[in-house]
Symmetry: C2
């Protein structure tokens, strides 16, 4: 592997974590390489840096593009495809959240909805349906929150994060804030 020590350490780590993150080693390494690179890279540069086969690079780049985690760039007077990750790490976070939700949560929500439409015949099925209902409701609450928050611009999202649980204190401390929060109408006065 033909990289400065720091970059190599990072790339190797992403390769190892890949399997925990639901991508494979090569995909993880390529992503890490592109994330660190100051310039877009073409496929052959990736081959040289990581010492893996050209076809492996091709397939892995496809997968990263399916995740919207890498972008295609074209340089003037060059037929080759070049690849980058988005500059803004917050944007990367949003993409990651969106894609993981799509793959890891939405299918379950769909299945739960379908099952919950059916008639429960036996007591065992009624109990199962109750449990699935609880799960469905929880996932629903989480995705509603996510859908609400995902559109925020970065500065507001960062502000939201930095507040953390403090917001619940507001709710307890001031009835006015609660009613404001719920109605979105009146300004807050102490």
């Amino acid at each position: 592997m033909n990289l400065p020590p720091m970059n190599q350490a990072f790339v190797l780590h992403f390769g190892e974590m890949g399997s925990r993150w639901g991508i494979n080693r090569t995909v993880g390494q390529i992503y890490a390489l592109l994330f660190l690179s100051p310039e877009p890279l073409c496929a052959d540069q990736i081959v040289d840096a990581l010492e893996i086969s050209r076809s492996n690079v091709s397939i892995s780049l496809r997968e990263l593009m399916a995740w919207n985690l890498v972008l295609l760039k074209h340089l003037p007077d060059d037929r080759r495809d070049f690849f980058t990750t988005p500059e803004d790490v917050w944007q990367i976070l949003r993409t990651l959240a969106e894609e993981r939700k799509k793959r890891e949560v939405d299918p379950t929500l769909t299945v739960l909805r379908e099952i919950l439409l059916q008639e429960a015949a036996t007591p065992a099925e009624r109990h199962a349906q109750k449990r699935m209902g609880e799960m469905h409701r929880l996932i629903g609450q989480l995705t509603t929150w996510y859908d609400d928050v995902k559109g925020l611009e970065t500065s507001r999202l960062a502000a939201l994060l930095s507040m953390g649980r403090k917001i619940t204190r507001l709710v307890e401390t001031s009835g006015k804030v609660v009613s404001f929060a719920r109605s979105r109408s009146r300004p807050v006065r102490e």
Copy 2:
């Protein structure tokens, strides 16, 4: 598979999703089975329900216990181990978040911290370090938020979720609320 149709649909779905969630099919199916069951089950009941080998059940239960996703129960006058999932789906969510963070985020944070301590020699390394710094900072903000929020009781956590982005309006509308919020955390950099 020896289950009511509803339960079977749910169990099969969890089996299929397993690989996306970083567990394998059997582990997913066993978890789903236990989640739906009104009673704790012993290993042989799981064997009968899912029609898989006893040793596979044993290993998969170990894994679920390592995740803290299933609990061991003992019935009086019965030597066998019985297994359940926690009742409360919010508790399950908390466990899941904790374990996934431990496996999927913490190692990266550690590696980033180590690499960022090193001296960057070349311009390429300086750029790489800048990128890793951005990633480190973002992950730090997310985990700080998570650490703050994870201890909330369910009703407050649910309240926080139901407010979603409305919180950020409070920040904009009312100087008092802003100063209150900032007095207990670092101001946000734009």
